[in-house]
Structure formats: C-alpha cells, structure tokens
Symmetry: C2
Subunit: 367 residues, 2 copies
Amino acid sequence: MASDIHHRTQDFIKLYPTVLRDLKEVFGTQGDVLITVSSGTGALEASITNFFSEGDKVVICCAGKFGERWVELAKAFRLNAVVLMAEYGSVVAPAAVEAALNENPDTKGVLFQASETSTGAAHDVKAIGEITKKTGALCIVDAITGLGTMPLDIDGWGLDIVVGGSQKAFMIPPGLAFISVSAKAWAQSASAKLPRLYFDLKKEKKMADKGESAWTPNVSHILALAEALKYIKELGMDKLVENAQLLAKATRAAALELGLELFAPDAPSSSVTAIKAPKGMDSSDIVKGFRNQFGSVIANGQGTMKGQIFRIAHLGYFDFPDLFAMVAELEIILHSKGIPVEFGKGVAAVQRVYAEAVSAKEVAAVK
Amino acid sequence: MASDIHHRTQDFIKLYPTVLRDLKEVFGTQGDVLITVSSGTGALEASITNFFSEGDKVVICCAGKFGERWVELAKAFRLNAVVLMAEYGSVVAPAAVEAALNENPDTKGVLFQASETSTGAAHDVKAIGEITKKTGALCIVDAITGLGTMPLDIDGWGLDIVVGGSQKAFMIPPGLAFISVSAKAWAQSASAKLPRLYFDLKKEKKMADKGESAWTPNVSHILALAEALKYIKELGMDKLVENAQLLAKATRAAALELGLELFAPDAPSSSVTAIKAPKGMDSSDIVKGFRNQFGSVIANGQGTMKGQIFRIAHLGYFDFPDLFAMVAELEIILHSKGIPVEFGKGVAAVQRVYAEAVSAKEVAAVK
C-alpha cells in the first residue's frame, strides 16, 4: 500500500472501518471508539466539550501535571470543578472519590488519569470506575499512557470515556488520539451545551458509521496505525499489558537494588517508573548522561519535579533488551557521578524478574 | 536525522523554531505563524474561538461547501453571522462585503475562502482585505488551498488571520495546520471570551517563543515539513504560485478546447479547476475512468455538485508532466463515453500555454 492515499477514495474508505474495528477490539469495549487528528489533549478537550454544559459539576482527581491539565480544561470550559488533590507521587484514594460523590450528588463527571505520567503513579481505575458507575456521573479516564500498559476493563468497570494517544503503547508517532464513548456518555451528550465543532464526536461517529472521518484524517498515521493494530492483535493486548507490568516491576527492583528511592512506591504505574535522584544530585545530570553517553532518551521530572526525579517508560515497543541496557547505563552514570554502585547489580535484578516470569510461564505450560 | 525524535529533547527544540521561522518566511508576514496538530478545520475553529465572544457579529462570504463550514462554525460557537451567499461557481463581490460592513458597523470579523475548493472559484482576497482593513473587523482567510497557489500579501492586504494546511501546497500528508495572526488580531483576542484550550493560540505562541509546542507535536510531520519548507524556500513561494497559476490557465484552455464548460469561469481559482461534465454525462464516470484506467485521482463535485462537475488540482508538486497526462487521459475517457474528441487537442492547448510561458521567460532573460 502506498505511504499516502487520498482520504476521499475507496482505498481509504476500505481501510478506515478496519482500523476503527481493530481499535475497538484492542480497547476491548462494546462502545464506540473514535479517532481525532490531534494530540491526546485534543481528545481530553473532546471528553469535556461533548458531555458537559457551562457550570456542570465535575470531580477531578489531581495527582500531577496531567491532573492539572484536567483542572485547566475544566476552568477553560467553565465547569464547576471539585478538585481532589494528591501529593506528587501519590494518587487520590477511591474512598475520597466516593465521599466527594456523596457530598456532591449533582456531579456529572469524574475525571482522572489511569497513569499519571508526570509522577509514575497509577489510580485504582477499577475502584473509581465501580464507584462512579453507581451514580449518574460519567467516569472519564485519561488513559493516554495507561492503555496497553495496565488492565482496563472499559465495559466491566464502567469507564464511560477512555482517551488514548497514538505515540504511546500504539507505537506510532504522535498525531492521533483515540476516545471510547459508552451509551451512558452518549445519553449525557445529548444535553451537553458546550460549543464544539472540530471535536464534535457525534459528527465523527456519524461519519465513522459511513467508513469516513469528519475532517481530513492524518492518512499517513492511519496507515501506520493499521499496521500497529495488526501487531497488537497478533501479540494480544493482554500480553502487551503484561510485558509493561513486568518491565515496571523489574525497573523498580533494579532501582531498589541500586539504593535508589521510588517516587511513587505506593501506587506504581506500569507505563512509567519515576525514580528519585540520589541525594545531592540533580536528575537533569542523569537524563543528560543517558543522552550524551548512550543516545538513550529518558524523561526528567516536569515542573517542580524537574531535577528531582527521572522517569523510564515501559510503553509499547520497550522490552527487556532495552531495560537491560538502560539499567547498565544508569549504573555507569551514577558511578561516574561518584555514587557508589556495584556494576551489574541493578541489571541482575532485572534479569531475575525476567527469568522468574519466564520460568513461571514454563511451569504453567507444563501444567 | 531520525524519522522520529522525542519532542521534549534538544533535537526537537533546535528544529521547531527553524520550522516556525521558515513557515513565517513562506507565509511572507511579519506577524506570527503558529502550527496546530489538526486538520485545517481545527485551525479554522481556532480562528473563531481565539478572537470572538458569543454573539459577536461576523460577515461570512459563502460560495460553496467550505463557505458553509464557516457558517457551521459560527453557528456552533454562537456568533451572530451575516451570511453573504454566492451561487456555486461564483464568489461574493468585494462591493457586497463593503455594503455589509457599512450596514453592520459592529462587525468583528469577515470570514471567507481564498479559494473555494468545492467549486474552483477564488475570492478577490486583496479587495476584501483592503475593505476590511479600514474597519475594526478582522479579515480571516481560509487559505488552506490558496496558500502557495495564489498571491497572498498578508501584511500588505491586511489579512489578520490566514489558515493553511500541511497536505496542500506544502506537499506533506495531512495532520498539521498553520495559522498566521496579525497584531490587530492579537489585540482583539485579549477580549475574546469563547472557551478554548487545545487551540489556545496565546498558549501556543508562548511555547513557540520558547522553541516548543503547547501540546505534543506531530513530530514525524514536523520533520517532513522542515524538508518541504527548505524546498519551497529554494524554489521561491512566488514561483510555486506562478506554476499553479500557469497549470490552472492551461487546464482551462484544455477544457475549452475540448468543448467543456468551466464551472467558475468568472473567478477561476488557481488551486483547483472545476469542469462541468458534458451534457447527459455523470461526472462520477469521469472520476472513475481516471482511477480505474489510469490510477489517477481527481475529485468529484461535493454535495449537490456531485455528478455535475469534476475537479483537477494544481497544488504543490503537481506540474506540467502530470497535466499533459491528465488531459490525455481525459480525452480518452470522454471518447470512450461517446463524446466526440479529437485526440491531442486538449493536450496541445496545455502545451501552448507551457511553451508561451517558457518563451516569455526566455525573452525576459534576453532583455
């Protein structure tokens, strides 16, 4: 297939419904899954403008920079936001959400991150979903980094809106976002008065049912996505999640083995692990060491966390060979900065997690 | 350079300002030029939400399906729209805009298409710009297909907002849109109350000044855009426009030579030429003939124009070799449908336009 095709042609009209169908299968929902040509934030905006009216009350679980984006969106669109704050590195407890919903029975939506990428902490999506499900509010999940790295039973847990992005576990460049919409969400959408056109999901759904997109799609990305979805379906979404979880577990083990502290020890995410820089050291130097010595890209902390933590991703095509190398590089970087490190000790921790998982599978296979 | 780089790295922070600077040069404005990760419609929405408040009065020149998109946007965002309708194939006369502005001195914006792609008609951008410039209203131009195919003196003609798209004369796949903003527009933006976040241009400008984008950029497209802009700068934007104008002129000459009628004879666009199907013939059969016999893609009419007209584009990398072939194909298709055609007659008309232009240049060079 060509690297680019015109979007109002039979070629595209054949391809697009297949992509939507595969995406729905990978999301694992009976609801609709739609595509927006935007970054993830565009789809987060869609999950506000399509389902609320000015002044509507929402509960926001804010546990980091991306939680703050929900707050910013709620403010921009003049929602009445009840913000539940968690300290960076922690998350909002389901009980706090339940209490907020009891105190605010007029709440129309609960907004949170599955994985708060800025801190490496993960919300208890299942518990928050099940609490919200019992109320009239929509459960709206920013799963941009959560999809494909943690289990998300969209229909079973009552997740009304789930947002994903192309550049994360979907393994293609940024430029597309994905959004699932439940029947409960569509019903609320009917009375939602916030203005919208580019991100009008009803219009998008109407066109998707005809095998097209409402606006000019990012054709090159749709072609890439078609291939990525084939790969994910072949591998199995559960296997992709399992792998991310195992990488996260191994990364935590390596960090502890090297005497480092985890930034979110109580609710660690499996999409990214945030590790504190050793005392007296700026995490920027670790990030630079990775880049300058090895050409490896890891993330610094954002906002006030910059210089304090560094973050290693477990999304999509990241796998154990990458992690073996990353931890070996980390050992060298720490050593070069005068931090006492026994070479290979962190790597061994990763290897043990890997070997245990493999042998557990072999045992399972024998049984 | 890699086909993909992380967007919060020095590599990207080095690249992005260069792209913005080149884009500004190619737009030919002293104002700001910003990038949105969206289709063109997203940037059209930005040109509404950043500059108006609910109930603001705007004058819309509506000459086709894309004019209707302005009407749809104005309705979605609850503007008070004075709509000047032109029949499909015609455009709104500058005098009509002047009269509407005189009758409505509280108008805050004049919205129109440079080239109305659905009909192949072009507005008199210069005249409308100069009329609007004398008033307090912003002159807002959808130049998604106009940029790079017709002259647009953004600062000289008083064009406050000009919107472009990556997949047109910029020759890369869809997925990015561009928007220029004048000082007059920024001033009006300060009091604009429509809600916005993803398309908040002030936020985008603030980040652009730091060499970054507000949201995750479509990195692969930015890399492609950097190359396309290098090419356009080397060629010269005026040469790109001249070529499109010449292709359009040659297409019109060929159509007339073949006894076909132009759909927009009085205000022909140089981004696309719309030609009526011969009497008794469905233009869909012509479009299908191009695709099935030659693998060539031309466009059918949209909406009620479907079946009535077919459209040949002159954007970006289209050049004379394409047009020689297209017209030869058209002759064969018409002949196969029983329309009397003298093979080569249309092609000869294209060749004459080409040869005349070349010899005129040679004469100019000799002088």
